[in-house]
């Protein structure tokens, strides 16, 4: 009964009389509510955006589906809350959302000063530049003095500043826009020469411009932007749950377990797979007694492994079109950076 709660709160607000509720763990809260509240972007194709039938799709959305499958046994028991870059941390720390899966970069400042815990990365990104082909610039080193459209309140702006100073380029003129829609509109109308954002987003933005061919993404990656789900500090059980849901999808890919073949692995003799599907080890119960033994099985069977999610949402055959092979987002065994601790 979400709404009776809202109205109660309104009444509370009216008379300003409140008492502090006793805080149980997030995991128990989610199970009691029988619904996971997940903070996402909601308008970022490939990460989290509604498809034609209004269902949220993307690698960030898949993290939410995965956690719901592990904790509640049903991937669809998720309520998505779209958040702007500015309000996302307040929303998480105030308890408005249980987990924040909104292409959020892990940095020291955020880790240390916001009261949050970054779990692990579901996409490893880096900032880059997009510019009009007609400007005739082929390297980011030639961008000194340019006007830069940027979404206010992202880490990209800092990365760009660092890059310009490290390379002794003439300072740029920032044009900070409030939303990604306005940033794109400003760039297209000519308010600036270059648009800077994470490279995954640049690809998406370019595909949405009126004439994508007239714009080029420069080769340089100027920053490290490891993106992943975030939880509140001080709830280690929930922290471990979210972290290991993510690790399980990576382990599943390493082991060759996918959503379509996992049912055939149910009685696997391979000890690693047996632990993944919950036949041996009782790993889920180690995280918390309230999880079922098959929590990872539910994740893989309902949402798929890490690679499946990538290919379905941002891979080469999607409008985003990011090639995975040989990129940092490939498994460590194939030269990438995706390396999950073992399930044992």
């Amino acid at each position: 009964m979400k709404h009776s709660k809202t109205w109660q709160t309104l009444v509370l607000a009216g008379v300003l009389s409140f008492s502090v509720p006793a805080g149980a763990g997030t995991l128990e809260d989610v199970q009691e509510r029988d619904e996971l509240v997940c903070g996402i972007d909601g308008g970022l194709p490939g990460f989290s955006a509604p498809d034609n039938s209004g269902k949220m799709q993307g690698v960030d959305a898949d993290v939410c589906y995965g956690i719901a499958a592990a904790v509640l046994g049903d991937r669809d028991k998720v309520k998505f809350v779209p958040l702007t870059a500015k309000e996302r941390f307040t929303a998480l720390s105030s308890g408005e959302v249980d987990v924040l899966s909104r292409n959020t970069t892990h940095t020291l400042t955020r880790d240390a000063s916001l009261g949050l815990n970054f779990t692990y990365y579901n996409f490893i990104d880096g900032a880059g530049f997009m510019i009009r082909k007609a400007m005739g610039v082929s390297s980011a080193k030639g961008l000194g003095g340019a006007r830069l459209c940027i979404q206010a309140g992202t880490t990209t702006e800092q990365a760009v500043g660092d890059f310009f100073r490290a390379n002794n380029l003439q300072a740029f003129t920032p044009k900070p826009f409030d939303t990604s829609v306005q940033t794109r509109e400003g760039y297209e109308a000519g308010a600036c020469d270059i648009l800077s954002s994470d490279k995954s987003q640049l690809a998406a933005i370019r595909s949405e411009l009126a004439n994508p061919g007239a714009h080029v993404i420069l080769p340089e990656t100027i920053s490290k932007e490891p993106l992943g789900p975030v939880v509140r500090q001080g709830d280690d059980v929930w922290f471990n749950t979210v972290k290991w849901v993510l690790f399980a999808t990576m382990n599943a890919e390493e082991l060759g377990v996918t959503s379509s073949n996992i049912s055939s692995h149910k009685n696997s003799s391979n000890p690693a797979i047996a632990r993944l599907v919950g036949k041996e080890g009782g790993l889920c119960k180690l995280i918390s007694g309230v999880l079922s033994d098959t929590c990872f099985y539910d994740v893989i069977s309902q949402v798929g492994n890490f690679g499946e999610s990538y290919e379905a949402n941002v891979g080469e055959n999607t409008p985003i079109g990011l090639k995975r092979e040989g990129s940092v987002n490939d498994l460590w065994s194939r030269g990438g950076l995706i390396y999950a601790p073992p399930l044992r």
């Binding site: 709404h3 509604p50 809350v81 779209p82 309000e87 308890g95 794109r184 595909s207 411009l209």
Partner: protein, 384 residues
């Protein structure tokens, strides 16, 4: 002594009556005015005709996708056929995206539920229409019903939970409907606070008066954007952890606070206009403060301040567009997003014109209504 018979008055010269006379006195009264008239007529032709052509004559109305707004073009250079944008407005866009722009994403994704907001707006129209009929006698009661009961009916219909319908969570609300809810909800919640604050500001008790002045000036001095930022960043800090608010509810709280200060000032204007004699007469009859206020002062003051309240409501209605800045998809925001979707690239001009036209119609009608009320309610009792 013969009777004095005045000679009949001469007819006015033909040049000062009728169409010719009107034109002469109103358009060509001096050489300067004549030049002005000709210049203005010429530039109007330059602007209005192409605008009408774009809006209506060349516009595309039918079709189901952006192809309806394109036209065949044979390049004179290579003789190839191209599909290029037609010269007129593309109203196909607003037609296809109508539900998204008007009612938000939830109803766009669930076409079978669209009847709910439609019925809500129809009910609202049905409730408002009698207010414009001079013969209708129950205006006062109807107004109170619209203010106190209708919001709950509207919420129940659109949200759905109370009626057992599929639930449309408030964070999935959007479009014109969200703008409507924020503005109407804001004024309904702000009215009681505004009345209390206006009475407090006129009170003889110094502490109550200064608290009310503080409250009113606090919200009036700050721009709405800062108040919306306050609601989205600070409100969660003000409440014990675990108390969570919907984004829409947070925006509504901010709008209510902001609006209550303006409503209070409008009502204070009404209170000031009541002649002192009214209150004094009531006191002489032995009425206490509450009776005096409730039966004598307030009914008259509210009547006088209705036009002022309607004017603040118009401002509020326009200001709700700012909720886009804290991430809600209101009317303007929904239209912008619809115009940036991959299949409707480049129709943002149409989106802006569409939103502007609807805002204009609503606000213009309301301001004319408020002027009409002002004239009608002016019973000559105001203190000037």
């Amino acid at each position: 002594m013969s009777k004095f018979t005045p000679i009949p008055a001469r007819e006015p010269p033909a040049s000062s009556v009728g169409v010719v006379g009107w034109v002469r006195t109103h358009l060509f009264s001096s050489w300067f005015n004549s030049v002005l008239t000709v210049l203005i007529l010429w530039s109007l032709l330059q602007i209005v005709l192409p605008a009408l052509q774009w809006l209506f004559l060349d516009a595309s109305w039918g079709g189901a996708n952006s192809d309806a707004c394109k036209t065949d073009f044979i390049s004179p250079e290579d003789g190839e056929h191209y599909r290029v944008d037609a010269p007129g407005a593309c109203w196909t866009f607003t037609k296809v995206r109508f539900v998204q722009i008007m009612f938000g994403l939830y109803f766009a994704a669930h076409p079978s539920e669209v009847w709910r907001p439609v019925l809500m707006f129809a009910l609202f129209g049905g409730l408002m229409a009698p207010l414009f009929m001079p013969a209708f006698r129950w205006k006062w009661q109807l107004g109170v019903f619209t203010l106190l009961v209708f919001p709950f009916i509207a919420f129940a219909l659109v949200h759905g939970e109370w009626l057992g319908l599929p639930v449309a969570e408030t964070n999935e609300w959007g479009g014109f409907m969200l703008t409507f809810f924020l503005a109407v909800g804001g004024i309904v919640l702000a009215l009681p606070i505004g009345i209390v604050m206006a009475l407090g500001r006129r009170s003889d008790l110094p502490i109550i008066r200064s608290l009310c002045v503080f409250y009113i000036e606090l919200w009036r001095a700050a721009p709405l954007i800062t108040i919306l930022f306050m609601a989205s960043n600070l409100l969660p800090l003000f409440f014990p952890s675990g108390v969570d608010f919907d984004k829409v509810v947070r925006a509504l709280i901010a709008i209510t606070m902001f609006q209550s200060a303006y409503t209070a000032e409008a009502i204070r204007g009404g209170l000031q206009a009541i002649p002192k004699g009214q209150g004094e007469a009531a006191s002489a009859l032995g009425m206490g403060y509450w009776k005096n206020t409730g039966f004598i002062i307030l009914p008259q003051a509210m009547k006088i301040s209705i036009p002022g309240i309607v004017n603040t409501f118009i401002e509020l209605f326009k200001d709700t567009t700012l909720v886009g800045i804290i991430g809600l998809h209101d009317f303007l925001g929904s239209a912008q997003i619809a115009a940036r979707s991959p299949d409707w690239k480049g129709y943002d001009f149409e989106a802006y014109v569409y939103v502007a036209l609807i805002f204009f119609m609503c606000c213009f009608a309301m301001s004319k209504y408020s002027q009409h009320l002002e004239r009608k309610l002016d019973t000559g009792h105001k203190e000037r």
